[in-house]
């Protein structure tokens, strides 16, 4: 690329999620979404990997929901967010402090292990690389 005009109109980045079910008797029921688009909804019996393309400059909202866990029967049932990478950069678990886990046990510590019914979410509310700049404390990010 020799000059500004040669930049592509649209650039894509990949988002990869690797999710592990954790259970002894009953596999977890899970819903996985990126920007409200459902990637998976159902019973997760084995490790699942998702890879989607996403517009470079668009915000990213990832949510993973654990549903209908019966605490009296499913002691071990959980979902482990093994890792999430965006454009080959490891985001989870490294930046798990940026995630929010809303659940029925009011467990508030950011985590990649979902043992309670609820929604884990990562809200990247600006272009990924701007978010990464701020999250990794790269100093000022000036606004025009």
């Amino acid at each position: 690329m020799k000059n500004f005009l040669e930049l592509p109109d649209i650039e894509q980045i990949s988002i990869e999620l690797v999710i592990n079910p954790v259970f002894d008797l009953f596999a977890p029921k899970v819903a996985i979404k990126i920007n409200n688009q459902i990637l998976f909804a159902g019973t997760m019996n084995s490790t699942m990997q998702f890879k989607v393309q996403h517009k470079l400059q668009s915000p990213i909202g990832i949510s993973i929901e654990l549903l209908n866990k019966k605490y009296s029967l499913e002691h071990e049932t959980a979902v482990l967010i093994n890792h999430i990478t965006i454009d080959d950069i490891k985001v989870i678990p490294k930046h798990v402090d940026q995630s929010v886990y809303t659940n029925d046990h009011h467990y508030t510590q950011p985590t990649n292990y979902m043992g309670f019914n609820g929604i884990w979410s990562l809200d990247i509310d600006r272009p990924f690389y701007q978010w990464l700049h701020l999250t990794t404390a790269q100093g000022w990010l000036l606004e025009p």
Binding site: N3, F4, Y129, Q130, A137, Q138, W140, L141, L142, P144
Partner: protein, 422 residues
């Protein structure tokens, strides 16, 4: 030639005002000829259009070469620092450029190079009020040196008064700042900032205009004076970046930053560091390495590493040419580089490049990185020993008014200096 090699985002948010009130597009660039523009905003939006056009075309403006030299020697360049402020990093250039907060503004400048933006990051030269006569300085930046140069007949008249003597120009400047919604950073240099009347005036006006609490201030001091009334103004700003000028921590500093005394310099430096820590300010030692000080520069890195504060030099010294580091012969340079390398090897380094060199959490890594860039420069910069005669002529002339001798400070260079008639 590629966009990644040459592009810089600085002209979309930064400019500087020189001591004589002229406008420049960058604090790192070589000074350019007088511009036709009378108002800083007009200069920024229109006058810098050619620079922006060149950068968008992937070309290197001729006055931007200093940044290329820094990058060649693995020193974090002004370009890298400025790119980072807009979210752009060279290792993922294309994607971070397209993700930048300024991307749409870059696009808008295509064609004429003009912009509707206002500068939000300033370097402001306050004038040449200064109580020091550093050997590498110029009359434009030191009133004391100006007087000495007149006396020594190096110049015929001292520079005229600075732009900050003109209340109308200050009013115009303050009005522009007060009407810049995303104003982020003002860096003041002198002269010696603390004794420059306009420094306190502008700080007070910024406070009165209600912008102090939302902007960062930076300034550089020569560690020879203290003014509590300035400190009282500084604490009202959101953030302070303190630059403390020192070349080394022994008496060679006295010779080069004449007529300072290292004992006083260190005492005042201790006070600033204590104050900075109590307010969470960002502190940096500012060095201007020359052939006279590079052999003692390691003391600054060692001190900074110990205190976990940064070290910053604007670039590899270009002017005055006779004080460039590569005036020293390669044998001496390699010996200095060896001592740097030995020390660097004894410290713990992550090896990752730190671009945000003012991040206090990365101060030590940043110090090692900057020291390593001087190792690279010492070993590889082309030979300019032919300038030794100019250096000796200049030092001998200065010493006639200062009644000192460089050999009392740097006896190890006696044999070398004698070869050029010292």
């Amino acid at each position: 030639m590629s966009l990644a090699e040459n592009f810089c985002s600085s002209p979309w948010f930064h400019m500087q005002i020189t001591a004589n009130g002229k406008y420049q597009y960058c604090r790192w660039a070589r000074p350019i000829e007088d511009s036709q523009y009378q108002h800083p905003l007009e200069f920024f939006q229109k006058g810098m259009g050619t620079i922006r056009q060149q950068l968008l075309a992937g070309e290197l403006p001729q006055d931007c070469e200093q940044c290329k030299v820094m990058e060649q020697h693995n020193k974090v360049s002004g370009r890298q620092r400025q790119l980072l402020k807009t979210g752009i990093v060279l290792e993922r250039f294309e994607k971070t450029l397209m993700s930048s907060t300024f991307f749409e503004k870059f696009k808008q400048s295509h064609g004429t190079g003009s912009t509707d933006l206002k500068p939000v990051d300033w370097q402001i030269h306050l004038g040449n009020f200064c109580n020091s006569g550093c050997v590498f300085c110029t009359p434009d930046a030191s009133s004391r040196l100006a007087q000495e140069f007149v006396k020594l007949k190096i110049i015929s008249t001292a520079p005229r008064h600075t732009w900050t003597d003109d209340p109308q120009q200050i009013d115009q400047f303050i009005e522009l700042l007060a009407n810049t919604p995303n104003l982020a950073y003002l860096h003041f240099i002198g002269g010696e900032t603390l004794i420059t009347p306009a420094f306190g005036v502008i700080l007070q006006r910024m406070i009165d205009a209600g912008v102090a609490a939302r902007i960062s201030i930076g300034f550089t001091t020569n560690l020879t004076v203290w003014r509590q009334e300035i400190v009282d103004l500084l604490v009202q700003f959101r953030e302070v970046n303190l630059g403390m000028s020192v070349e080394c921590l022994d008496s060679v500093n006295d010779y080069v930053r004449w007529p300072s005394q290292i004992i006083t310099v260190q005492s005042i430096m201790d006070q600033w560091i204590k104050l900075s820590r109590s307010h969470g300010w960002i502190t940096t030692l500012r060095v201007t390495p020359t052939c006279l000080t590079v052999s003692r520069l390691l003391s600054v890195y060692q001190y900074a590493y110990h205190e976990q504060i940064g070290v910053e030099s604007c670039n590899f010294l270009e002017d005055p040419a006779h004080l460039r580091i590569n005036v020293l012969p390669l044998g001496i340079r390699n010996s200095i580089a060896d001592s740097f390398e030995t020390w660097i090897a004894q410290q713990v380094s992550t090896g990752e490049q730190v671009i945000n060199t003012r991040d206090p959490n990365q101060a030590r890594a940043s110090v090692l990185q900057d020291a390593a860039s001087y190792v690279n420069y010492l070993r590889t910069a082309h030979d300019e020993t032919h300038r030794l005669a100019d250096l000796i002529r200049y030092l001998k002339l200065l010493e006639t008014s200062r009644n000192n001798s460089v050999l009392n400070y740097l006896p190890e260079y006696e044999e070398f200096f004698r070869t050029a008639g010292y």
